[in-house]
Symmetry: C2
Subunit: 271 residues, 2 copies
C-alpha cells in the first residue's frame, strides 16, 4: 500500500477535487528513515499554518499520524508526501463554507542522488525564470507550483543538481526544491521569504539551531552579488538534507567547513 | 456521461497526475447552447497557445473535438470544461522529455445566475487581494488559481456577483472569473495583461469586433481612479456573456447603452 486517500488505500481522486481544478491545497514532503517519520511535529505545524493561510481547516494531527503509521507500517525508508486539498465541492472559485478536506498520503522510494552531491557539493543553475511576488501566499507550500515546473525545465544536464531562483527584483529567494543559506564571515544568511518562496522545515530547524549555538543568522534581502561573494553556499530540504554548492556561474568553492558541521547536525538530530 | 478522461468515461484521475501535484496544466470553459459548442476554434487556439506557454504539447484539435462531440451528444445546454495536464510521470518538478498529456472533458449544467445581472447590472466587490506579477504565466489560463480562490473567499453576499482584482501596483487587471472593459468618451479600454491576469476568448472577440467597427479599443494600464471615472464598466466571459457593472465602491451607473449593444452582439454572433 503506497497511497491512502482519506484513510483508504486508493490511488485516484475525483476530477472535481479542487486540488486539481485550482491547485487549492497544500503539501509536505517528509523522510522515512529506519521506519521512523522524521520531524513529524514540525511538519504538522507547518501543514497547519499553511492550511490556515488558505482558510482551510487542517485535519487533526492524531488522524493524520494514525494514517501515516498505517502507510509506513511495512517500510523502512522512503519519501512521504502529504497533500491536503479543499476537496470536491460546488462549482466556481469560492470555497464552500465548511469544506471537507481531502487527505492524500503517499510513500515512494528514496531518490537515488549521487553521494557526491552531499560530500563534494553540487553545481547550481541560475534560473532565468524570476519568482513573482505574492505576500498572501509567500512561505506557503501550496499546490500552485508552475513556477517551479518552468524553472526546473530550464536545464537537463544531470550534473546540475538544482536551480537558483531570484525574484522579479533580482533578490535571491531559494532553489527550485530547497532553501538556500550562505556563510559570510562566520554568520549565516538566508533570504527573507515574506514576498515569495517556500519556507521549509529544515530552514526553520537551522535558524533555531543557530540561535541556540550563538551563531548569528540573518534573514534578509540577498542581492545575487552578495551570494556570489559568500564564503560558502548550501541548500537544505527534508529529502536531500544538506548539499553544499560547489559551482554556480560566477562562484566556485571546494571547501565547506561550516556546511559540513551543519550537515552532520541535521542528519543526527532527527527528532 | 458527463466526464471523459483521455476519451473514456471516468471521473477520477491518478494522484500522481501533475495537474494535482503542481497545477501543471491549463483549462478552458466553454458554453454548450442548443447542442452547439460555442467558439470552439477560438477556444482551441487559446488552449494551444496556453499549452505552448508551459511547454506542453497540446492534444490535436480533431482528437479533442471528437471527444467533445461524444461528451455532449445527448445534451442541449451546459458548461464544458476542458483540462489538459502534463499527465503522470517521474517524481519532481522537471517535466519528462515527452510527457503524455491527460485530457479531461467535463459537462455540467448551466449555472443559475439572476437574469438581472445581465439586464440591470451587478454589484462588484473590490478585492483586497492583489494579483502578483509573473510575465511568464500572464494571460495563460493555467491550473494555479489560488489567487482567484482567496479573492473569491472575500465576500459571501449573494448580491455581489463578482470581485475586482488589481495588481500589486494598484492597476485594474480583471475580475475573479471574467475580463473587464470600461467605456470612456465612446472608446473601449481594457487592462493590459502582460504581467498578470487571464486573457479570455470573449475579451479577444471584443477587441476584434471593436477594430472591425472602427471603435477605438485601448489595451493599457488602468489605475483604479480611471475605472471609477468610466462612463460604463462591464465584464465578459464565455459563460456569463456580458454583465454591466451597476455598483462598485466609489462608482454607480444605471445606464449601459454601449454595454447593451455589445451584449447583444456577443450573444448573437456565436460562431
Amino acid at each position: 500500500m503506497n497511497t491512502l486517500i482519506n484513510g483508504a488505500p486508493c490511488d485516484t481522486i475525483s476530477v472535481n477535487d479542487r486540488g486539481l481544478l485550482y491547485g487549492d491545497g497544500v503539501f509536505r514532503t517528509l523522510l522515512l528513515r529506519k521506519g521512523k517519520v522524521l520531524q513529524w511535529h514540525r511538519h504538522y505545524a507547518c501543514l497547519f499554518k499553511d492550511c490556515n493561510a488558505i482558510y482551510l481547516q487542517c485535519p487533526p494531527e492524531s488522524l493524520l499520524y494514525g494514517e501515516l503509521e498505517r502507510l509506513v507500517q511495512d517500510a523502512q525508508d522512503g519519501v512521504i508526501k502529504i497533500i491536503v486539498t479543499r476537496g470536491s465541492a460546488q462549482r466556481g472559485y469560492a470555497p464552500a463554507p465548511h469544506p471537507v478536506a481531502t487527505r492524500i498520503l503517499n510513500l515512494s522510494p528514496l531518490p537515488a542522488y549521487s553521494e557526491a552531491f552531499s560530500t563534494s557539493g553540487i553545481r547550481l543553475h541560475l534560473c532565468q525564470l524570476r519568482l513573482g511576488q505574492q505576500p498572501r501566499l509567500a512561505g506557503v507550500k501550496h499546490l500552485n507550483r508552475l513556477e517551479n515546473v518552468l524553472a526546473a525545465a530550464e536545464w537537463d544536464d544531470p550534473d546540475i543538481a538544482e536551480g537558483l531562483l531570484l525574484d522579479e527584483s533580482g533578490y535571491v529567494i531559494e532553489a527550485v526544491r530547497s532553501n538556500i543559506f550562505m556563510v559570510k564571515n562566520g554568520d549565516l544568511i538566508t533570504p527573507d521569504l515574506s514576498r515569495c518562496g517556500v519556507s521549509g522545515v529544515q530552514r526553520e530547524r537551522l535558524i533555531e539551531w543557530a540561535a541556540q549555538q550563538g551563531v548569528k543568522c540573518k534573514i534578509m534581502d540577498v542581492p545575487l552579488d552578495d551570494l556570489l561573494a559568500a564564503d560558502e553556499i548550501f541548500l537544505v530540504n527534508s529529502v536531500i538534507g544538506l548539499w553544499p554548492v560547489r559551482e554556480l556561474p560566477g562562484y566556485h568553492c571546494e571547501h565547506h567547513p561550516v556546511a559540513q558541521v551543519i550537515q552532520d547536525w541535521l542528519a543526527h538530530d532527527s527528532n
